[in-house]
């Protein structure tokens, strides 16, 4: 009996531990992998705490990675292989994302690469917003600040389920947008105001009959014949609208070396 109770207690402990770390593929997997050696120990500890808390709370796999070589791969593929090859995706987290900074000589840049269910969260817009958020600090070498801002942004994304638009490194608020669209609103409002009042004024004027359909005798129309001639043909060509400027961001998908699908994007610098 004692053995049985110990067995049950052991199962409960395992279940509790598994539930607390639902977002992690394994409690042993590091959440900040600084192969480029750009962070201090304190910075790694701080980032690890915040990413760990985020992963445990929201259950989405997430990891930070830096490196100085990509093993001859593209940054996207290197980051995707990192996720697949190191077991960052399993059934408990249903998906994983790596925010990767490559400092390889001549191939510097960052990528936000997702696999599994996280591909639906880190869409092209979200990756673009992250790029806008970290761009300035990345280019000026403030890597920790860039990673820290990125972690804050992703935490907010997981918490609210909604991506706050970022333009020029700043969060775009409703009031920013109102300021942006107010002139358009005023112009549209004035046009509609004038059109509606013109319609009201038209109702104040005479409306003389200009046709005689009421007096057309029923069944009196007799169509004796009809002939058709081709006259001419013209073709108009208009250029397709181009995609909006993404500030150098790239986005796409592909297959990892092990065949797993991934998607994501980032910028080079």
């Amino acid at each position: 009996m004692k053995r049985f109770l110990s067995f049950i207690a052991g199962l409960l402990i395992i279940a509790a531990v598994s539930f607390a770390g639902a977002g992690r593929a394994s409690a042993d997997l590091p959440l900040v992998v600084d192969r480029a050696g750009i962070f201090s120990e304190d910075e790694i500890a701080s980032l690890t705490d915040r990413v760990g808390s985020m992963v445990d709370t929201y259950g989405h796999g997430y990891v930070l990675l830096t490196d100085i070589k990509n093993d001859g791969k593209s940054k996207d593929l290197y980051a995707a292989d990192f996720l697949y090859d190191n077991g960052y995706w399993n059934e408990s987290n249903d998906g994983a994302t790596v925010f990767y900074l490559s400092l390889e000589e001549g191939n510097r840049g960052w990528r936000t690469i997702s696999i599994g269910a996280n591909e639906d969260i880190f869409t092209e817009d979200v990756c673009y917003y992250i790029d806008e958020l970290v761009d300035s600090n990345m280019r000026s070498g403030n890597y920790y600040q860039a990673f820290s801002d990125q972690v804050d942004y992703v935490e907010e994304l997981f918490r609210t389920g909604r991506a706050t638009p970022i333009e020029g490194g700043s969060r775009v608020t409703v009031s920013d947008k109102i300021g942006q669209y107010l002139p358009t609103g005023i112009i549209v409002g004035l046009v509609i105001g004038f059109v509606v009042v013109a319609g009201m004024k038209k109702g104040m004027r005479l409306n003389p009959e200009t046709a005689a359909a009421n007096y057309l005798l029923r069944d009196s129309f007799n169509l004796r014949g009809s002939r058709e001639y081709f006259l001419y043909r013209n073709v108009t060509r208009t250029e397709k609208p181009r995609d909006r400027d993404r500030g150098g961001s790239s986005f796409g998908g592909g297959s990892s070396s092990s065949g797993g699908h991934y998607s994501g994007g980032g910028r080079d610098f």
């Binding site: 409703v174 669209y181 409002g189 109702g203 003389p208 169509l223 002939r227 001419y232």
Partner: protein, 363 residues
Amino acid sequence: MEERYSQQTQAYKCPACSSALRFMPAGNLHCDSCGNDYEVEAIKALYEFDDEGGFDWGDYKKDRAGAQERLNESVVYVCRSCGAAIETDRTTVATRCPYCDNEVVISDRLTNGLRPDGIIPFRYESKDLPNLIRERFKGKKLLPGNFINEHKMSQILGVYIPFWLFYVGLDGQMALEGTQTRAWADSKYNYVETSHYLVQMDGSMRFGGVPVDASVKMDDDLMDSIEPYDFSQMVDFDPAYLVGYVADRFDADPDASLPRATARMNKSAEQVFSQAAPRHYDTVSIRSNQMRVVNPNLRYVLLPVYLLNLDYGGKKYRFAVNGQTGKIVGELPVSKGKAWAWRLGIAAVTAAAVTMILSFINL
């Protein structure tokens, strides 16, 4: 000796860009400006339409021609009730004696060719009209608040207005332009190809009782707005119907009135042909209308109208009420202050809504 030759010339122009067309050895006509090629038959058909003459009005007015008389600007009649001399203008048929208030019908203006073929009697009484007019004005947000004048409302005048009713057939050809549109795209461009066709249609139709007011002094737009009348309620003319109302006889020549009727009939004819055009076109528009008037006839009738004049802001506003249906027509004054208040109010509400919608959509 210089010899002059008279020669009838015909210059064909491109239907697409109006530049001169050139005959090509291949048997087609070519436009050097826009590069289009045309079948000769198509262009000839197009120009046959453009070259045809105007309407044949016919001799429909011969019955009325003898009735046209030269009348002085004013005529004096003797009231049979009090013997007073009443001066009227040349078109008045019924009036009221200013001395004894007796109704006067000037019967010699209702004889022979001047006698109306029919009359629609008044169905509404003048006492009903102030309420009708107030109802008509009720929903008008831009109407100045003090426009309705109770004193003036009591001065509504019932008038029998002379009308010509035209019974006309239209026969001939209508040329329409039909277009077919096809769209496609490649990686860089969107393309829209529009093919233009000439549709030549031949047919006829007949209109019965198109009314045109036969009084020169009456505002044509006002009378065209007061329709429709229910002509099934028309009765044979009897001078007794005029008692208590003012009545005029016609003074507008039917020749001068018919173009207004035919303009309306032609517009309806164009709608009828457009609806009858082949269905495989995406758009159809009228290119030329060569309908002729055939078998024209007309009737001279008196139709009941109440007239009301209101002064506002130094301008006179005339209203007419259909004495058969109660329909009220007339131009109303617009309060500038109210118009600006509405414009700015609508603009403010719309601007706020549009700004918020765009802000949230693009956030």
